[in-house]
């Protein structure tokens, strides 16, 4: 029953000859063929090295020495670690301040165009109640 948890790699189960369906009223196997079969998939492994340690060090500021922060657990672009805003304009300004030195010209130019467009739109064209 727990064979898949005790260290033996889950073997590929043999596929059934036909997809087994059950009668809704009686609950027994029905002899009718299913004309719309669903793709058979194995259950996903809940204890891979990554999934087994999900959530580790999320409470490190409470239970640790105080050197490590929660924000250090976030993996992603540098301008988005510990930052959240529904406003694209603010994220672009933060990105420009932090990482404009490491961008190539095309990327930077497209960002500048977007910043100009959003500045004019938010400040002169549309009000905040439209969700921008």
């Amino acid at each position: 029953m727990f064979r898949h948890l005790v260290g033996v790699s889950s073997p590929l189960l043999p596929a059934p000859r036909r997809q087994i369906t059950y009668d809704a009223t009686t609950g027994k196997e029905s002899t009718h063929r299913n004309l719309f079969p669903r793709k058979l998939t194995l259950p996903r492994d809940a204890f891979t090295p990554k999934r087994a340690r999900f959530g580790e060090f999320d409470y490190v500021d409470i239970l640790g020495t105080g050197e490590r922060r929660i924000v250090d657990n976030v993996k992603g672009p540098a301008w988005l670690r510990g930052f959240r805003s529904s406003n694209e304009f603010r994220t672009l300004l933060r990105r420009r301040n932090m990482s404009s030195g490491t961008m190539d010209w095309v990327q930077f130019n497209n960002m500048q165009k977007r910043v100009k467009y959003l500045y004019r739109k938010l400040n002169f064209k549309r009000s905040h109640k439209y969700g921008w």
């Binding site: 005790v6 340690r53 490590r68 672009p77």
Partner: protein, 331 residues
């Protein structure tokens, strides 16, 4: 009952040498209280045995010291009594009850706040998530600056660029824009309460065990599998120690080959893992630290204009993060 020891006496090995005991010998109930560090026995001439088989259990009991009682050094409310749990060990397959551990009632027997557990688990899932969906806007696509054909004269519709929203291969105005983060913080008080609720539910549902140290006699995964079946520990087990060094190398090797058993230091403990793993095994060295920290975040008070400095110091000093050793130097 005593046949394993007779087998050792009849070995054809040199008298006076030591022989390593097979762990399977420890399953027998007759050998109930062995010291965890004595897995070697002397080979003795048959007939000239120093072991008196008649009073073997008494001799073994005398080797064993007094039961260990780990008392609670922190203050607790008068109407709540400390909870008591067996102090086990991993040195043998059958449960070896070395003594008792007293646990703080406000940490290990709080009300079952399932809403707080859900909040904490949800936060752990979402605060690290970053969505990388991005769709280019019309200005970000190359090859869109020139007017494709003149305004008038051709029979076709009027257009200004080949990559506007109207065209195939063009940009989008209202699509997802760049990586977006879902970061937010839960207060330390709420997260500490979540830990307390999770620990108390584990204890209430017989899924919490305390162990003197995370040592194991042999680096053998079959020992742990037998241990789980005898003690009825679930398929997934979470071991927690104070520091990463509290895990012995033999235990590390045994856990490496087991699928759903892992070790975490105390700073890695969290609500999501306590809900995911069936049993929780704490080692004795992390209990004091854990309780002290969780109570600090329950009782601490921030500065208020009506509270004076000396009152604030008094209140925050009860469960301060000063170590218990500094507080109780005599113990």
């Amino acid at each position: 009952m005593f046949q394993p020891l007779l087998n050792i006496i009849n070995y054809s090995r040199k008298v006076g040498t030591t022989v390593k005991l097979n762990y399977r010998l420890l399953i027998g109930k007759s050998i109930a209280r062995l010291s965890p560090h004595r897995f070697y026995t002397n080979v003795v001439e048959p007939g000239n045995s120093e072991i008196d088989l008649n009073n073997l259990t008494e001799q073994l009991h005398s080797v064993y010291e007094q039961p260990l009682i780990h008392r609670l050094k922190l203050d607790h409310p008068v109407h709540m009594e400390p909870r008591e749990v067996w102090l086990d060990s991993l040195s043998q397959v059958e449960p070896l009850r070395l003594g008792l551990v007293q646990l703080h009632p406000e940490v290990f027997s709080t009300a079952p706040r399932l809403d707080i557990l859900a909040k904490c688990a949800e936060w752990q899932r979402w605060y690290r998530y970053i969505n990388y969906d991005k769709v280019p806007s019309p200005g970000e696509i190359q090859k869109g600056g020139r007017k494709p054909w003149p305004q008038k004269g051709t029979g076709r519709a009027r257009h200004g660029s080949r990559r506007s929203v109207l065209w195939k291969g063009g940009g989008h105005r209202k699509g997802p824009r760049g990586p977006t983060s879902y970061f937010y913080e839960l207060s330390a008080e709420e997260r500490a309460l979540g830990l307390r609720v999770a620990l108390s539910l584990k204890l209430a549902q017989n899924d919490l065990f305390i162990v003197d140290s995370l040592d194991i006699p042999f680096a053998d995964r079959q020992l742990l599998i037998d241990l789980y079946s005898v003690r009825d520990w679930g398929p997934s087990v979470l071991y927690v120690g104070d520091t990463p060094e509290s895990l012995s190398p033999a235990m590390e090797e045994a856990l490496y080959s087991l699928k759903a058993s892992i070790f975490m230091p105390l700073s890695g403990l969290n609500v999501y893992s306590m809900l995911k793993y069936d049993t929780l095994v704490l080692s004795l060295d992390c209990i004091d630290n854990l309780q002290q920290r969780l109570l600090y975040y329950k009782y601490r008070i921030y500065r208020n204009s009506s509270i004076r400095d000396y009152e604030l110091e008094l209140i925050n000093s009860v469960f301060s993060l000063q170590t218990l050793a500094e507080k109780h130097p005599s113990d």
